[in-house]
Each structure stands twice: as C-alpha cells, then as structure tokens.
C-alpha cells in the first residue's frame, strides 16, 4: 500500500520543469528510508518548500479515479505540489509503530502552517489511522483556516473515524468559520438529529443578532424536518434571498414532512429549476462563498 501510494504520488508530481526538485526529493526519500533518522526527515520536510511550489497539481481524470481506488474518497486534485512532495517524504519514513509516532508527534508539534496543512490532509494516507483520531480532533482547534480546511474539507478521514460529538463540533465550526460545507466529505451520510438541532440553534442566534444565516446549514436539517424546523424553513423562505429560498426548498423537497410539501407547489417554477440534491447544494455553497464570505 505504502509503495503503491508513493508511486502514484510520484507520478502526480512528475514535471520536466522541476527536475532539480524531483532529484532532490528522490535523494531525501532514499536517505530517510534507509537511515530512518528523524533529524534528516524533519529537515527535508521543512526544506521541501524550497523545491516545490504551492501550485495546484496538474492531473488527469484517470489519475483522480486511480486516487479514489487507492484510498476511498482521496481527492489529490485539491492538493498542491508541496503537499504531495511532503506526503512522499512522510510515506518514506519507516512505519514501525512506536518510533513512527514519536517522530510524527514531534513533527506535528513543531510544524508551521503549510507543514500542518500537508500533514493533516495526508491523514487518510497514513498508517495506524485509528491511533491518529485524537491528533485530527486536536488539529481542529486551530483558527488558521488553511489548517482547518486540510482536515475538514475534501478529506475522508473525519467522516470515517470521528465519533458523533467530534463530527458535530467540526461541522459547527465549519459553519461558524463560513467554510463551504459541500466540501465536507460524508456530510449527508453523517447527518444526525443532534447536529440538526445545533444548526437550528445557530440559525436562531444569527437571526437574533440580525445576521445572515449560511444557507447550506439547512441541508443538515432535511432528514429531520418536523413542525419546528418547518417554521425555520418558512422564515428562510421569507427572506426573499434567492440562496436562502433555494436552500429551504431543497430541504423541504428532500424531507419526509408532508405538511411542508404544499410549499413546493407555491414555488413550483423555482423548484422545477433546482438541480439534483448534491449538485444544487454545491452551487448554493459556491455562490454563497463567492458573494457573501
């Protein structure tokens, strides 16, 4: 697995324009792999920023498909070159549990912003994943959006491993930080009544303060719509804000709460224009990020 991943990532990084960087990386990987000394690894991990840019990877559709086959829901299209290089260095460190954790803990504790970004985004590619759950949860305490995003967005790790309370805290913090919820993997599958209630409280707090509510929040409510939630959705509809309206209509369309269905008739033209659920939510999220955040 480790080797397959490494060769896949090396392919992603291949670029005739940066032969110098690739040669450097190959040399470091061999050294780290053969000697297994933390100091060489730490230095190479830091200095990778001198050889690789924070530019998005060039990739083919095939490669994205291949990524998902290697690690379910792995999305390297959201990674930059530096992240791939650092992940290759990480994978080259001998995976013997105790020394591996000693070294990685030290690296996590002393990492700078972009090093943290690389490490947290690579959680789903790391060994000993179940023992890394506390590390991921701790990482979410950050207020550096770059680092938060590396864990919460386009990363299959939280949905796969987080207990419900931590999952809910992550989603709530993403809402609070106005991060695009549609980029949280497993968001729909891991909706739960507690999270829906948290979302609702948050919306009330925003309304009370005279502030706008992020429309994507209603997606969390859809499976649990009842009389109370329906009142909130009516309120969202009454804002005359197109994004809020679409979000409320999508929520009602998905919900099983029949008294709400008559609203769909009243908005039939608008409802007819709504896309499939996931696509529609993505476009609401994208539009909200583009115009309001």
């Amino acid at each position: 697995m480790q080797n397959q991943l490494a060769s896949f990532l090396s392919q992603l990084l291949e670029s005739p324009a940066n032969q110098k960087g690739l040669d450097w990386l190959q040399k470091q990987i061999e050294k780290i792999n053969n000697e297994g000394t933390p100091s060489k690894f730490f230095l190479a991990f830091s200095q990778a920023s001198r050889y690789f840019k924070k530019e998005k990877l060039e990739h083919s559709v095939d490669q994205i498909h291949q990524a998902g086959e290697l690690v379910p829901a792995f999305q390297p299209q959201f990674w930059d070159q530096l992240q791939v290089a650092r992940t290759l260095l990480m994978l080259s460190y001998p995976q013997v549990k105790d020394p591996w954790f000693t070294t990685m803990n030290q690296l996590f504790e002393t990492a700078d912003m972009h090093e943290h970004q690389s490490l947290f985004a690579a959680l789903p590619l790391m060994p000993f994943q179940e023992d890394l759950i506390p590390r991921a949860i701790d990482g979410l305490r950050t207020n550096i959006s770059l680092v938060f995003d590396a864990i919460a967005l386009n990363n299959p790790f939280p949905a796969k491993y987080f207990p419900e309370a931590n999952w809910n805290q992550m989603v709530l913090k993403a809402i609070f930080m106005q991060r695009p919820l549609y980029r949280i993997q497993g968001l729909e599958e891991r909706r739960n009544p507690a999270l829906a209630a948290i979302a609702r409280d948050f919306a009330h707090e925003r309304w009370a303060a005279g502030r706008e509510v992020m429309p994507e929040i209603w997606r969390l409510v859809a499976p649990f719509v009842n009389e109370e939630y329906f009142e909130d959705l009516k309120k969202a509809l009454s804002t005359k804000d197109n994004l809020q309206e679409n979000a409320a209509l999508l929520t009602i369309r998905e919900s099983a709460y029949s008294p709400a269905k008559k609203v769909l008739d009243a908005y039939s033209t608008q409802v007819a224009k709504l896309d499939m659920d996931a696509i529609a939510w993505e476009s609401i999220g994208t539009e909200f990020q583009r115009t309001r955040v």
């Binding site: 730490f42 230095l43 938060f148 995003d149 930080m177």
Partner: protein, 301 residues
C-alpha cells in the same frame, strides 16, 4: 513601501497591525527573543518558536503584511544553561522552516561565559544551514560587547556580509560598517535611538548597509518607528533613494541571503482583502467585518 526588519509582533495589537499596513509597511521580521518573563521549560520555547512560524505569520497575513522570523536562543536565557542546552536541540527543527530568514537574535547581554558558549554554538549552526545571523548587542557595556560579537563571529569564519549587527549607536556604527557588517539601528525611545539622531547618522555615513528598525515589543515602543523615521529623513532633505535603502532595500538584501525572503512575496500577493482571507473566524471572530476606515462611536455587529 517599508520593511520593519526587527519587531516583536507577539506583543502587539491588531490596531498596530492596521496602522503599520496603512503607513506602508509591507513586510516584517520577528526575531526570536525573550518574553520578559524568563522561561523555565523547553516546551515554552517550542510553542514560542511554533508561534513565530505559525499563528503570528498567519495573523500578520490577515493585515496584508508578510511575516518572517529569525530563530535562536537569546543571550539572556542562555544563562540558564541546562535549559539552553535543550533549546539548542530544538533549534534544528525550526531553522529550515519557511520564512526563517536568519539565526537570531543572538549575542551578548551580560557577556557571561554561558552567553559566549551558546553564541558560538549558534554561529556554527548558522554556517551549517547557510543562514544570515542577527546579532543583538548589549545595552550595558555596548561598545565592548559589539566589538566582541564581531571578533567572535570572525573567529568562527562568518562572512561579515552575512551578519547584521543590531542596536547600533553613534559609538559603534563606524567600526561595524568599516568591518563590512550590516548595521541595524533601533528607533526605540530612551534606551536606544531617537529618529533625529538616526537622520544625522544617515547624513554622516550614507545609506550603505544601514538598516532602520523599531524593535517594538512589550515595552513603550513604536511600531511605526520605521515610516516615521523615513518621514523625518524626507523633511530633513535626505535623498529618496537613501531613504529607500535604509528603510527597505538593505534589509531585503541582507535577509534575502537566506533564500527565504523575496520581494515577490508582497508585490505579487493578492490585494488586501481581509474578508476573503479570514474565512469568517480567525482574528476576527464570529463573522465580524474588518474595520475599514475612520473611527466611530459604535462597535460593529
């Protein structure tokens, strides 16, 4: 455009950052130093160093200012030798990080044996990782301490062009420049330089290898010392190209030798847009909107 190549931002407020950005400061260098309260655990150093390459760097970016730092064990705390030894083991973890432009600020405080030992060890580290050195010269017995810093650095084979000797005054400047070092001047009320004296020094010695900074920290100091001194130089008839050298270019040239500081970092940065960068909650909490212009008598929602 100005660079403040010596300022301890962990001690400064967001008002300072806003004022600095407005005054034209585009980049800052935060040297690792002591915090007023002596540290007793190596973990305190670790978290401080992490702050310099992590949170503070991020916080600065929120205000449109590019943040760099120097890494080192300061001379005061070198006197706690048991702790200092542990800090020396920690430093290699940080010196290669992005935005670390020098080893510093290191040198002498009371000029003790312990200070000398750790100064020398860090000069060797700087050579090994090919980073410039930022030397803190002592407040007390300054002249002797400054000369000694240069002597020791030459003994270790450092090229004077890779060394910035900081906190100079009228008594030290000539020898520092004559020996080929960069000479830093700190505009800091009472203990260091005033800006009028700085104008006279630039008039007398010219702009070559002279670098102005604020060293603003938790004491009574001024984060706008660099732009203010530049203004005073303008009023006093110092040529514009000399002002640019001492308040911008020389710092960039000296610390740029690290390979970690490039004009492109701020010239090509996207225009300041706090809301875009902030993602709703970081320095500004809970969807606060960044303050725009002028003062008002209400606090924004």
């Amino acid at each position: 455009m100005y660079i403040d190549p010596h300022i301890h931002l962990v001690s400064r407020t967001t008002d300072d950052y806003e004022a600095m950005q407005k005054a034209g400061i585009v980049a800052v260098i935060e040297p690792a130093f002591w915090l007023g309260q002596p540290r007793t655990e190596v973990g305190s150093f670790k978290d401080y160093f992490s702050t310099l390459v992590g949170w503070e760097r991020f916080r600065s970016s929120q205000f449109g200012i590019v943040h760099y730092c120097t890494m080192g064990l300061n001379s005061k705390e070198a006197n706690n030798e048991a702790l200092a030894e542990q800090v020396m083991e920690l430093l290699p973890l940080y010196v290669g990080k992005e935005g670390v432009v020098a080893i510093g600020e290191i040198g002498y405080d009371d000029q003790t044996e312990a200070e000398d030992r750790f100064f020398r060890l860090q000069l060797e580290l700087a050579k090994e990782v090919e980073l410039p050195v930022l030397i803190h010269t002592p407040h007390r017995d300054k002249h002797k301490g400054t000369i000694r810093s240069m002597d020791v650095s030459e003994e270790h084979g450092l090229d004077p062009k890779m060394v910035i000797v900081d906190h100079n005054n009228e008594e030290t400047v000539k020898e520092v420049l004559d020996r080929g070092y960069y000479a830093g001047f700190t505009i800091y009320p009472h203990t260091k330089m005033g800006s009028e004296r700085m104008v006279e020094i630039v008039r007398q010695y010219g702009p070559e290898r002279i670098i102005v900074n604020s060293a603003a920290d938790w004491g009574i100091s001024d984060p706008l010392a660099v732009p203010k001194t530049a203004d005073l130089m303008r009023k006093s008839g110092i040529p514009e190209e000399h002002i640019k050298l001492v308040t911008y270019q020389n710092a960039l040239t000296a610390f740029g030798q690290s390979g970690q500081m490039d004009e492109k970092d701020w010239l090509n940065a996207s225009p300041l847009d706090q809301t875009k960068k902030l993602g709703g909650n970081s320095v500004l909490r809970g969807g606060q909107t960044p303050r725009v212009e002028g003062s008002s008598d209400f606090v924004e929602n």
